[in-house]
């Protein structure tokens, strides 16, 4: 398979005005991905599928990612004059990154036996701008998985042939895989609670009606 740089350049040449960005993955898997802008996602995807040197004809997996608002800290060496002497000082700058949702597609080529190529689409924000173009017209195998992302993350895929909830019922209003999802309160019987479940279960506790005095006994001070 060609390198990501080469594929990125090919994409930008093929679809005029397309902005493709490499999202580096510093982890052990080294699976870096291509972030494609929403406007040109469908032509770029069609190009990736149809170009004879690439021919990514199989979309094996589609999934969603929820990114909350976060603060990125950057440290940079800055030359400063301290007490008349020029020194290199670490300066941390904080950058606020607003949250967004992502759809991640894993592509393989059955014909050329290469892959995976990972492409991402990113929504504007997490509240009202959660629309993305659907890649189901390009890869039919994305249909059910885009429905699943719609169900669990709330991304609306424009151009999807049959966008309905798939796991939860149609009347359901929430998106359970979002990080700020709060479960309904059915914690009245939790025999062995811990962590968040303990906090939720505590609201259902009744206080002991009678205390036998044992709770006041403390270890003798030595």
């Amino acid at each position: 398979m060609e390198t990501l740089e080469q594929i990125k350049n090919r994409c930008e040449l093929a679809a005029r005005g397309a902005k493709v960005e490499i999202v580096a993955n510093p982890g052990p898997s080294q699976q870096s991905s291509l972030l494609i802008d929403n406007e040109h996602a469908v032509p770029v995807a069609r190009f990736l599928r149809d170009h004879p040197a690439l021919s990514f004809d199989f979309c094996s997996n589609v999934t969603g990612v929820d990114w909350l608002d976060r603060v990125a800290k950057k440290t940079a060496k800055v030359k400063q004059v301290v007490d008349g002497v020029e020194k290199e000082v670490d300066q941390t700058t904080e950058e606020k990154i607003p949250g967004y949702l992502e759809a991640v597609y894993h592509l393989y080529s059955i014909k050329l036996k290469h892959g995976p190529l990972i492409i991402r689409l990113r929504t504007e924000n997490r509240a009202d701008g959660t629309r993305l173009p659907s890649l189901t017209p390009v890869w039919r195998s994305a249909e059910l998985q885009e429905r699943e992302i719609f169900d669990l993350y709330g991304i609306v895929f424009d151009g999807h042939p049959d966008l309905r909830r798939i796991l939860m019922w149609d009347e359901f209003k929430d998106h359970p895989m979002r990080k700020d999802y709060v479960q309904p309160d059915d914690f009245e019987w939790e025999p062995t609670p811990h962590d968040e479940v303990l906090e939720r279960a505590k609201q259902h506790y009744t206080s002991r009606p009678q205390l036998d005095g044992a709770e006041k006994i403390t270890a003798p001070q030595s």
Binding site: L167, M168, W169, D170, E171, F172, K173, D174, P176, Y181, Q183, P184, D186, E188, W189, E190, P191, V197, A201, K202, Q203, H204, Y205, T206, S207, R208, P209
Partner: protein
Amino acid sequence: MSEQIDENLRSELQRQGVWVTSMQELYNWGRKNSIWPLQFGLACCAIEMIATAASRYDIARFGGEIFRPSPRQADLMIVAGTVTKKMAPQIVRLYNQMPDPKYVISMGACAISGGPFKQGYNVLKGIDRYIPVDVYIPGCPPRPEALLHAFMELQRKIDNQKLSGSEKAEFLKPEQPSEFPVPAFGDHDLNPPANPKVYHPPKLERQS
């Protein structure tokens, strides 16, 4: 019918070739040895239930007989597996369609409490939130022997049911409902999340 015959007299009569029994005993004997379970499975517990019904364990030896594909022909509902919130209304509806007397075995950790999936947003924390359960089987999944044991426990329970008097079986009391409200799909959860007339969780007395 409600008068108990003296055990010594009965065995003495039996020795003389006279078989004495009561209507209640005969009725319960017939019922407990011909329990037709409803044929449906929800998850991996269903595989164990299938094994129990097949030749090696053979629940028919105990009167489990044939699994019926229709709730209208079944006496026993074996809730075998994880009950998701999307599936729960259908389970209650199937239970409502079964004729009285009917019994429920809650098989495996999931059907009892939600089991390993208890904290999931999509899993019902026990089928006893909506329908009354007669026998609970712990295990994940329980072995076929455990299901057979639960089945024999249920037979013992049926054998001890009274047909008359103040302690008569629940299904003979006219005020006892044989159908329970089917929960509706709500905006955030099932509506209601539990039937308070059926579900009585133990109160935890702890310092909060």
